[in-house]
Amino acid sequence: MSIITVKNLKKSFGNLEVLKNINAEIKEREVVCVIGPSGSGKSTFLRCLNRLEEITDGHVIIDGQDITDPKVKINEVRQEVGMVFQQFNLFPHKTVMENITLAPMKVRSSSKDEAGTKALELLDKVGLREKAESYPEQLSGGQKQRVAIARALAMEPKIMLFDEPTSALDPEMVGDVLEVMKQLAKEGMTMVVVTHEMGFAREVGDRVLFMDGGYIMEENVPSELFNNPTHERTKAFLSKVL
């Protein structure tokens, strides 16, 4: 049973068609990595999955709800779909603790204690309990991203979307963030990860989608896609990045 179904998804910005015809099925507990050259539409694809981008045409069904239906309560769907951004997007005027507890308290109506306890558990998980009272500006990039992951997890989502989570990090910070993501994958989280980390895609991904020019050109299990790419464009891309 697919938790995400994408049917004939099209997305245009003005006259520019970024996603041309995307079809995809993602099963529960599956880790799907999306790779491809920049401008291929992979981030846009990801952002359509929680309707951060208005969808031009087609259908995106998340856990049984078609989010292209104007009657769908998108805020409720988004509670089930966590997102981690390239630029972290922590709230700079709030402490790490406040960043994590805000949504559970305001959206899920958790009590402050309840949300606080949960936040500390999550901070333990990402190895940053001692930073609870720090402000984002006092953290390194890798720490910020781990807090952002904890913030998304605090809503106990069924799906996690990662939009190039390590692309803005110094190389020595990348490992810590990937480690947290690996752990999450091991625990059975459904994850869609747009990434340039081919090592991560190969090791952690159950499936890899290669996107180019607004299409999914090729999809396969990592070993097949990386070792025996069938499409010329996939071969050309992989020869540049591997």
Binding site: L52, E76, F85, L102
Partner: protein, 216 residues
């Protein structure tokens, strides 16, 4: 002897200052609320609301303060079923005038906040209103504080124009005392100093707030 005349005039000037501050404080609070509402209308994803906000802002920015004052006090007051006194007219005019300028300041402040902030908030399931209230506006206000202070100072000085519709503000009291004492030089110098001190205090408060908030 001359000093006596000045010290006799001083309590009247203080009374005038009270009126000035009373009008200023009420008008600036109302003006801020107007500014916030108009800024949100201006940014709302509904075109007619944008137009209403734009028409309001341009109408106020495109006309002199005195004309606005006369329109509200003499113009609106001449219509049937409408009647308010000069103080009310003064407060309304200063509030509306400041509101239009605040609206543009607040709009720019909101737009200066990185889109990623709203995207993060919305991706967590926060509503548009919760996003504005908890994430965007608190950050925007920190950035807007210096400009808001500036506009507040301009509005405070604009209140001196209210003397022309007979409001007994500091300027009006200055006029009365100046003609009563024949000490125009000293009276107007003192009036100027009083305005200066009030505005200087306002600046100090703003600087304090800025240090408190902008650092965080």
């Amino acid at each position: 002897m001359r000093v006596d005349i000045i010290s006799a005039a001083f309590p009247y000037l203080m009374k005038g200052l009270q009126v000035t501050l009373y009008i200023f404080i009420i008008a600036i609070i109302i003006g801020f609320i107007i500014g916030l509402v108009v800024a949100l209308l201006r940014l709302a994803p509904i075109k007619p609301l944008n137009w209403i906000a734009l028409i309001f802002i341009n109408a106020i920015r495109g006309t002199p303060f005195l004309v606005q004052l006369f329109f509200i006090y003499f113009g609106l007051n001449s219509l049937p079923f409408i009647s308010f006194n000069s103080t009310t007219a003064g407060i309304i005019t200063v509030a509306i005038n400041a509101g239009a300028y605040f609206a543009e300041i607040i709009r720019a402040g909101i737009q200066s906040i990185d889109r990623g902030q709203s995207e993060a908030a919305r991706s967590l399931g926060l509503t548009g209103f919760q996003n504005m209230y908890h994430i965007v506006l608190p950050q925007a206000f920190r950035r807007m504080l210096p400009t808001i202070t500036n506009q507040s100072i301009i509005s405070l000085k604009d209140t001196s124009l209210l003397s022309v519709i007979g409001i007994a503000d500091l300027t009006q009291q200055g006029e009365i005392q100046s003609s009563a004492t024949f000490e125009a030089f000293k009276i107007w110098l003192i009036v100027g100093i009083i305005y200066f001190i009030v505005i200087y205090l306002l600046t100090l408060i703003a600087n304090f707030l800025e240090r408190r908030f902008v650092l965080r």
